[in-house]
Amino acid sequence: ACGTQESNEATPAAKDEDKVTGETIKFGVLPAESAIPIILANEKGFFEEEGTKVDIESFSSPNDRNVAIQSKALDGTISDVMTEATFKQNETDMTITSGILEDFKVLASPQSGITEMKGLADKKVTLVPNFILEYIMDVFAEEQGFTYEVVDIPSFATRSEALLKGEVDAAVYTEPQASMLAEQGAVILGSSKTSGINGGTIQFMDSILEERPQDIQAFYTAYNKAIDYMNQHEASEYADILSEYQFPDAMSTYLDTQEENYPHAQAVDQDQFNEIIEWTKNKEQINQVYSYDELTDFSYLEE
């Protein structure tokens, strides 16, 4: 079963005329860096300024979030290209509308003594197979020309204990967990951000894109306002908001060490997209190749 394509082209045309409805957008996040602009936009009133309302639903595991999406309990969410493709395959029609802030790190366990990526050849790496974590690890492994063994530990906390205890040699983590683990002795071997690997996405249900495109536009305007805010302020100034959303202190520390400005919401690179789709297909996670146009529509992003 494949999704319909016409909706992608039809929607953007109407978007300027209509007023923002002000109806709620239910948006699912995981406790990661990518959620911060959305949280700030909500807490600092940027969504309100744009006349829209966002309910942030936070999940502690990607599974629960995926379930919520498929149960149509959410209008939009943060995830990644392969998740989106899998949704599509499972007849949940969503469209990627932008990339996200993200930085995945490969961490070696304190006991392993490994200090560079090459050292991971034939070692045990814990990650969640078939998704962005494995993709990133695969890209690194291919660049450096080695293979490694996957240890599947879906539970996040168990994974970090396994890493710190040396039960596995390495793990792939996003922020802020990566910084926390580094603080506790794990060694950072590589970063997706510095290596220019991007797979994370924001996507919305096709139904909301069709019915309330102006709301999504407003969402992004507010999102970008939040990015501006982040660029203008030290993270320590909004640290209490972060801790209210159960982010650890390490999050603001990490944000403050970032030298470059955060980018506004932007499109996902087409080549990167195609590579990821190809990889996902090879993993037999999806059984057909989805095209860039099928799954993405970046017209909601203001120029």
């Binding site: 936070s58 919520a68 906390a157 506790q184």
Partner: protein, 244 residues
């Protein structure tokens, strides 16, 4: 009354003491940050005491409602199954199929039908508990001596009267036992029921603390679950007085 109270505090004291002993033992043995010292945890608990209170209230309410529903639904079904062997033979195969299912895997269904809110959380807890109640009540009612049934038949008691005057008093201890088991399971399941779309609840607290690797906070939450469980258990113990 006074005796009961002093008993309660004595056993609470004993409970906390032995719990702390086990904790300290683990703390010393493991010498690992994943097991914080009770003192650090205690300080943390004091720091977030208001918040902790809210978490406890949220979880207690969910548990209480789920338990209540489970007893209201499970008790009659369990009794009926025990009274009508035919219905038991017909229904128990299904029960046996449903019972061992990991209910958490059915989150999709709960979310699908009832959204992300409290209702689906309570229903998840309910679905975990109710089958326990049904099976323990049924098994309990099955052990009522045949002689007792004879007495009720002798007085020409209607089915409702048999339930009221024989089965309910006779299985009262079984109901308590099934409540004990259910409370244990319900509390342990909070952990899964409260891991999405909520701001309050001990399960949520523990899970988010875990993700943050804030182990003192995590153990504060665990201690609160243990305490909540202990109190509920003692309440049930005190109901034993009404047993014959």
């Amino acid at each position: 009354m006074k005796r009961v109270q002093s008993n309660f505090f004595r056993s609470l004291f004993l409970g906390i003491l032995s719990y702390l002993a086990v904790w300290i033992l683990l703390y010393v043995l493991s010498n690992n940050h994943a097991i914080p010292s009770p003192i650090v945890t205690g300080i943390k608990m004091w720091d977030i005491k208001e918040l902790l209170g809210l978490h406890i209230i949220a979880s207690s309410l969910r548990i209480f409602i789920a338990l209540l529903l489970a007893v209201l639904v499970g008790l009659p079904i369990g009794i009926l199954l025990s009274m009508f062997p035919k219905s038991d033979r017909l229904l128990s195969p299904l029960l046996y199929f449903l019972y061992p299912l990991p209910k958490v895997a059915f989150l999709p269904i709960f979310m699908l039908f009832w959204g992300l809110g409290n209702f689906s959380k309570i229903l998840l807890l309910f679905s975990i508990i109710v089958l326990q109640v049904i099976i323990l009540v049924r098994d309990g009612a099955k052990t009522i001596p045949e002689n007792y049934q004879r007495i009720m038949t002798n007085f020409q008691a209607s089915i409702w009267q048999q339930i009221r005057y024989l089965i309910l008093p006779a299985i009262f201890p079984n109901i308590l036992a099934s409540l004990r088991v259910s409370i244990g399971i319900a509390l342990a399941s909070l952990f899964f029921a409260e891991n999405y779309a909520t701001d309050y609840g001990l399960g949520y607290l523990i899970l988010s603390a875990w993700t943050k690797m804030d182990y003192p906070e995590m153990f504060a939450g665990i201690f609160c679950i243990a305490l909540l469980g202990f109190i509920l258990f003692r309440v049930i113990d005190s109901l034993e007085r009404f047993s014959y």
